[in-house]
């Protein structure tokens, strides 16, 4: 009897191990089919591809109405996951270490790591077979992408394709933002300099210490981990340079230079130090996490901040759906010296080192490309932008799309959008006009729709400043140089290169010192600044950093010349 028990135990544990193994391989098999992407038949034989986007985003339920409609239209859908709580490079690094990838990846900052690891499938031999994809870019643009990637197309840029005119109505990039109610209160003053900006905030704050029963906050600078760039990069903008990110580039000498040590940097951080001492800057701003930052802005009590719009967009959506439009923001491209021409707004430029790529874990490359080709077909683009006819929009006798009041109200409501919409924001797409030549791809970029969505305060602000749309508040960079934006090069550095280490050290020094200087008070500013500069020089190999960027600037200028010559010959 005892023996039987023992034997059955032995058999059981062996079986458990085997079962463990097989269920293990079962899960990798399942992963393999969501991540390995063979044509797993879910409901109605719709192919499912896993997709990872190296940016923060919102995951929406897969049975969302428009998601289902789009999947039925093209016979496939993507299961999108987004970056949470870490940097793109960290997440991509972990993926590479594991050697398993989702079917589709937008690696963001981790792009060159993916390329180095051989994780992207080169697509140059396939693209010609997919007319919608091919049409996203001109031959010259495809050539430029190849030129920047040793002759390969690893990814399809997502945001660089604009059809027809640029219909952009919102400004989605970096600026000093200020609440509409502040402008209204001050009778819509022109704001050009950082001094004027803080003067206005100070004046408003003095009269309105509370918002909805909570203390009003003058100014926020998001400082959470990789999102801290709006803390460190203003000196470049203030000095009149565009968003090259890593450095400022002299157009004459083509030399790249760090902007942390220029006079504008010292002047700006001195200003922030004073304003911190005045109590204008939120004391928690340097320790707050992203969620806390969003919560504060969503409460409507933050008067202004410097940031990229996409970082706090969800807070603005939340304010709008509460009907608090006077607490949303207007962008200003500020400078220190009014004679400097600001260049905050980026011109649409081809990003040759980014976008969505197909990974080596994907064993259905053609199916995936067919899916991508499908999502940029006309019908799919309408569905993605406008939704379903009769439910989300109507068509008038001229073929123009419009929404009824009820439909507009629905699309203003974030909960409704979460339950009906699509999370395909980073899946291959184009902007501008639809192929019908009548309608814009995005409803809020259709002039009539944009205007119909404006509430009283919006109309008042636009009229006061003599603008038609929000984007008009910011002037586009001019000229656009061939090396722009140089920060894409910084993303390619690894720890093997001195420049890569220099960049990491630079980040650490700035993350520590900038808040410390600002919180340290005006009396200690000079000492703190000197200590900061000393540590900066000690820790950061500035020469390697600048050298590597300068080299790339020159390479890009040469490469542009070559491609243009080639084009001239043809």
């Amino acid at each position: 009897m005892k023996k039987i028990v023992k034997w059955s135990l032995a058999a059981f544990s062996c079986a458990a191990l085997l079962a463990g193994c097989s269920s293990e391989s079962g899960t990798t098999g399942e992963n393999g089919s969501t991540s390995g992407g063979d044509t797993t038949a879910t409901n109605d034989d719709i192919r499912v591809y896993s997709a990872f986007m190296g940016v923060a985003g919102k995951e929406l339920p897969e049975d969302n109405r428009i998601n289902v409609a789009l999947a039925e239209l093209i016979g496939a859908r993507a299961e999108v996951t987004w970056l949470t709580g870490q940097t793109a490079k960290e997440r991509i690094g972990v993926m590479i270490a594991g050697g398993e990838y989702p079917d589709l990846v937008d690696a963001s900052d981790g792009y060159s790591q993916m390329v180095d690891a051989g994780a992207f499938v080169p697509l140059e031999d396939y693209i010609d077979d997919y007319p919608n994809l091919k049409a996203l870019y001109t031959d010259l643009e495809w050539e430029k992408i190849k030129a920047a990637n040793d002759g390969h197309i690893y990814t399809i840029p997502t945001f660089s394709s604009v059809r027809g005119e640029n219909t952009e109505t919102n400004y989605g990039q970096e600026a000093f933002w200020i609440q509409k109610r502040v402008l209204q209160w001050a009778d819509y003053p022109e704001i050009k300099t950082v001094d004027e900006y803080f003067e206005l905030i100070n004046a408003f704050l003095a009269e309105h210490p509370e918002t909805d029963g909570q203390p009003t906050i003058g100014f926020e600078v998001l400082s959470d981990d990789w999102r801290y760039f709006a803390l460190e990069n203003p000196p470049a903008f203030l000095a009149g340079y565009p968003n090259d990110g890593a450095a400022i580039v002299d157009p004459e000498t083509l030399e790249a230079k760090v902007y942390d040590t220029i006079p504008e940097a010292k002047e700006y951080f001195k200003k922030l130090t004073d304003e911190y001492a005045n109590g204008v800057i939120d004391p928690e701003t340097f320790t707050a996490k992203y969620d806390q930052y969003i919560a504060k802005i969503s409460s409507g009590r933050v008067l202004g901040m410097i940031d990229q719009y996409w970082q706090f967009e969800q807070a603005v959506n939340s304010l709008r759906s509460q009907g608090k439009d006077e607490l949303t923001y207007i962008p200003f491209g500020l400078v220190l010296d009014p004679s400097v021409q600001p260049q905050y707004r980026e011109a649409p430029a081809l990003n040759t080192n980014g976008g969505l790529g197909i990974t080596v874990s994907n064993d259905d490359i053609e199916g995936t490309l067919a899916f991508l080709d499908g999502v940029v077909s006309e019908e799919a683009m309408i569905l993605r932008g406008w939704g379903e006819e009769g439910i989300d929009y109507e068509i008038d006798e001229n073929g123009k799309f419009y929404r009824t009041e009820e439909q507009r109200a629905n699309w203003r409501n974030t909960d409704w959008v979460d339950n009906n919409g699509l999370d395909y924001g980073y899946i291959t797409s184009y902007r501008g006009m639809l192929p019908d030549g009548i309608n814009a791809v995005l409803p809020h970029e259709q002039v009539e729709e944009f205007q119909a969505n404006l509430v009283d305060i919006d109309l008042e602000v636009l009229e006061a400043y003599g603008h038609e749309k929000w984007a008009d508040f910011m002037e586009v960079q001019d000229p656009v140089y061939p090396w722009f934006p140089i920060y894409t090069e910084r993303g390619t550095w690894t720890a093997d290169e001195p420049a890569g280490i220099a960049n990491q050290k630079m980040t650490e020094v700035k993350m520590k010192w900038l808040p410390q200087i600002i919180m340290g008070g005006p009396d200690k500013f000079e000492d703190n600044w000197a200590a900061y500069m000393a540590e900066y020089e000690d820790q950061v190999d500035v020469e390697a950093f600048e050298g590597a960027l300068t080299e790339e600037v020159k390479r890009r200028v040469e490469s542009e010349k070559e491609i243009l010559e080639k084009l001239g010959e043809e």
Partner: protein
């Protein structure tokens, strides 16, 4: 005389043969037990030992796109790079400091809590407290750090409000902006999360203490504190020592999530642990070799620490692991 020796020799031979025989038979006799254990041995080999092949990466300039034998060998270059980096030295200091703080606090609080709970005579209240106290163990760090951030907030944080109400301070303290608080914030977050859970094992050890001991002590007129001191604590001493030994082996792992989630630029010099360093300089900069080298260093130190601690424990006549 000679015969005697012969007999003795014969005896030894016989004994040896007997032993040999018994080994084989013993294996045969225990075949079911061995079969039961075998899967787990295989499991350990496959999942804990086979991956050690990856340690070779530390001596290479590893590129993920290349195969195992196409890599460039660089000897100890990665280790040299590690130890010449002042940040690495700093993260070692942070890791060890935070580990020691965590270890002391969690031992102190878990044992105290277990003793107090043990003294509670009402069974149902004891059950409720026990259940409630170990619930935080099941929360993930992302939630716990969210709570910690709220509690420490300068605007709405309960700690600042309490301190202000009782006039200890006039201005709220931004605890997360000051490096001197960080290790303690991590330590007490750990206490909050793990005290209840950690006390379970002590409680079970206490329940095995013979009740007669307490009765006898009572006869002799021992007070409650006396009983705790002379009976309860010595009763759980072996458990304490074993847990201490196991935890000393973990001293190089001060954790990752809590420091990663609570840290910010202002406190990064005290907040970064070895794990965070590996993530920043190894994985996110694509230098997997450096990350592996740091991992090896970690393991080697852990093995040394646990061996030394074990020796000491043995020499002091206490429990030991091996």
């Amino acid at each position: 005389m000679e015969k005697l020796y012969m007999d003795a020799a014969k005896d030894v031979v016989v004994k040896k043969e007997k032993k040999k025989k018994t080994l084989a038979t013993r294996i045969w006799q225990q075949k079911e037990l061995i079969l039961i254990a075998l899967p787990f041995v295989i499991y350990i080999l496959v999942f804990n030992y086979a991956p050690l092949v990856g340690w070779t990466m530390a001596f290479q300039k590893y590129k993920p796109a290349l195969g195992m034998f196409e890599q460039e060998w660089v000897g100890l270059a990665n280790f040299k790079q590690l130890f010449s980096d002042s940040s690495f030295i700093r993260v070692i200091r942070n890791t060890i400091s935070m580990s020691i703080i965590n270890l002391s606090l969690s031992f102190f609080f878990s044992i105290t809590f277990a003793v107090m709970l043990n003294e509670l005579k009402n069974k149902s209240i004891k059950k409720v407290i026990q259940t409630v106290s170990y619930l935080p163990h099941f929360l993930s760090w992302i939630i716990v750090t969210g709570i910690v951030l709220d509690v420490l907030s300068t605007e709405t944080g309960v700690i600042n409000q309490l301190l202000m109400t009782f006039n200890f301070i006039d201005q709220p303290i931004n605890f997360l902006a000051d490096p001197k608080y960080f290790w303690w914030i991590v330590g007490f977050s750990n206490v909050w999360k793990s005290t209840g859970w950690g006390s379970i094992i002590y409680l079970s050890a206490m329940s095995s203490i013979n009740d007669e001991l307490y009765e006898a002590a009572e006869m002799d007129g021992a007070s409650r504190l006396r009983k705790i001191w002379h009976i309860t604590l010595p009763g759980i001493k072996p458990t304490i020592f074993i847990l201490l030994l196991i935890n000393i082996g973990n001293i190089m792992n001060a954790g990752f999530e809590v420091q990663y989630l609570l840290g910010n630029g202002l406190v990064q010099e005290v907040s970064q642990t070895i794990d965070i360093y590996v993530l920043r300089y190894g994985i996110s900069l694509g230098n997997y070799s450096l990350a592996t080298a740091a991992g090896i260093f970690n393991s080697v130190i852990s093995v040394i620490l646990i061996t030394i601690a074990n020796k000491f424990s043995k020499a002091a006549g206490e429990e030991s692991l091996f």
